[in-house]
């Protein structure tokens, strides 16, 4: 039964872009590479990149040398790995499937 289902064009369904992918930034905050969908605007990506670099730099200033930072948001996990002043940033959307997978033990 599809009483409440909408017959809309597929393009309308995912209203919010699915933030998934990774990008690399150098120490000056310049983008080197990115696999993040174009729907995630460059300005916003830059904002996130800036906050990540700042977090690493200020940690260093506080003599807290970090190699990796993980930011857990309600809908997204951001994992940033420090790379000689720059960083590679992974975006993992939080879906029921991904949370289930995260909860499962990793077999070695």
């Amino acid at each position: 039964m599809s009483l409440f289902s909408k017959s809309r064009p597929p393009s309308r369904q995912p209203k919010e872009p699915c933030l998934k992918g990774a990008f690399t930034i150098d120490a000056r905050g310049r983008f080197i590479s990115s696999t993040v969908p174009a729907s995630f605007s460059a300005a916003l990506q830059k904002e996130l990149a800036g906050a990540v670099l700042k977090a690493f730099r200020e940690a260093q200033a506080a003599q807290l040398t970090l190699t990796e930072l993980v930011f857990e948001f309600g809908g997204l996990r951001v994992t940033a790995k420090e790379m000689r002043g720059g960083a590679i940033v992974f975006l993992h959307p939080k879906t029921p499937e991904s949370q289930q997978a995260a909860a499962e033990p990793i077999s070695t």
């Binding site: 039964m1 409440f4 369904q13 200020e58 003599q63 993980v70 930011f71 309600g74 997204l76 939080k94």
Partner: protein, 361 residues
């Protein structure tokens, strides 16, 4: 037609509105159904027509369901609000419930779903006579007091994370409690330590064996006293992160502080947006000192929270940092930011787990 039986349906899809109308009109209370195709029209209609319940689509052009709700909640606080989601995304559900929506419902896909949906809507319309919402702002003590003062008989089923407990109330007296392997008074005291969670009022069990004989007033007094005694002293910082002060925080934090692998626990007020410009460490903070680390933690939390808000990533839950000398984990606990210093021997998974424990404290 009294407003208690009028339902407003909001969806940008006209065909769907028609189907909604037909489905809800067959409910036993025979409600009057009014429809709108945009948030702006719905708000204009609400100004002139009293409505008991509003069922809104989430995904709409212009204002989405939650944006409409934010206006409705302010202008029409008595109106009950149901949001229809296209999928059962837990993050979106949680966001909607946090905003104060009465019910989030995934669009029915089968006859069974539709029957459940109708009975839920029927229940919301039928129970319009009274009752408070926003119970999340009441503590467990308030709930027990309300039940006892009104001489009620019920069973309070409480959930806090994965823990579940029950309090039996008969004729306005607390007669028993259970949680984990505790029962009676110890269980009641344990339950009173829970600062947040959800509850459900179950039918009374008059035949329940009585294990608690003291009055509910004495129970609550004992619990309050125990809570005071369980407060522990933890290193904290003021809003600027410059002065080390001593302040009381729940003892569960001190349990975490003394757990294996934890090197230090720092706590202080969450950063305000206006403070975020002051990212440089305070002059009296020597690099590597606790003050400098905590100042970094506050600034980082504030910056990322602001970015998350701008990008619509949902609330910031926790931050984990993997370091060469030590790891760090931070989370918001009530109105405080708590930062854990963790031994570098811990794995990233253990860092995540320890940080998660902060949120549950």
């Amino acid at each position: 037609m009294p407003s208690t039986h009028r339902i407003l349906l909001l969806d940008d899809d006209v065909d769907l509105l028609d189907r909604y109308r037909k489905a809800l009109e067959t409910m036993p209370t025979r409600p009057e159904i009014v429809t709108c195709t945009s948030g702006a029209k719905a708000l204009a209609l609400l100004e002139s027509t009293p409505v008991a319940l509003m069922v809104s689509d989430f995904d709409m052009p212009g204002m989405d369901g939650l944006q409409v709700f934010s206006i409705v909640r302010r202008r029409f606080p008595k109106l009950r609000y149901v949001v229809m989601m296209p999928t059962s995304d837990p993050a979106m559900r949680s966001r909607a419930y946090s905003a104060g929506v009465d019910l989030v419902w995934e669009k029915p896909a089968s006859d069974e779903d539709l029957a459940l949906f109708q009975s839920c809507i029927e229940g919301l319309v039928d129970n319009f006579g009274g009752g408070f919402r926003g119970i999340q702002h009441k503590s467990l003590v308030d709930l027990v007091q309300l039940e006892c003062l009104s001489q009620s008989s019920s069973v309070l089923k409480l959930e806090h994370g994965t823990n579940c407990g029950r309090i039996w109330i008969n004729g306005g007296e607390v007669i028993d409690a259970e949680v984990a392997n505790l029962e009676g008074e110890p269980a009641f005291s344990e339950l009173m330590r829970w600062k947040a969670g959800s509850f459900e009022m179950l039918p009374a069990e008059p035949d329940r064996h009585r294990r608690i004989d003291v009055s509910w007033q004495a129970l609550l007094l004992d619990s309050a006293q125990a809570a005071d005694e369980q407060l522990a002293e933890i290193s904290t910082y003021d809003a600027e992160g410059t002065h080390r002060v001593t302040e009381a925080l729940p003892s569960r934090l001190s349990e975490i502080e003394t757990a294996a692998g934890v090197e230090f626990l720092l706590s202080g007020a969450l950063p305000l947006p206006s403070e975020l410009r002051a990212a440089t460490p305070p002059p009296d903070a020597a690099a590597g000192s606790d003050t400098a680390v905590f100042q970094w933690a506050r600034t980082t939390w504030g910056n990322l929270e602001a970015v998350g808000r701008k990008l619509g990533l949902g609330p910031l839950r926790q931050i984990e940092g993997i370091g060469l000398q030590r790891h760090v984990g931070m989370s918001a606990v009530e109105q405080n930011l708590v930062c854990l210093g963790l031994n570098r021997s811990l794995s990233p998974a253990e860092v995540r787990e320890k940080t998660k424990q902060l949120s549950a404290a």
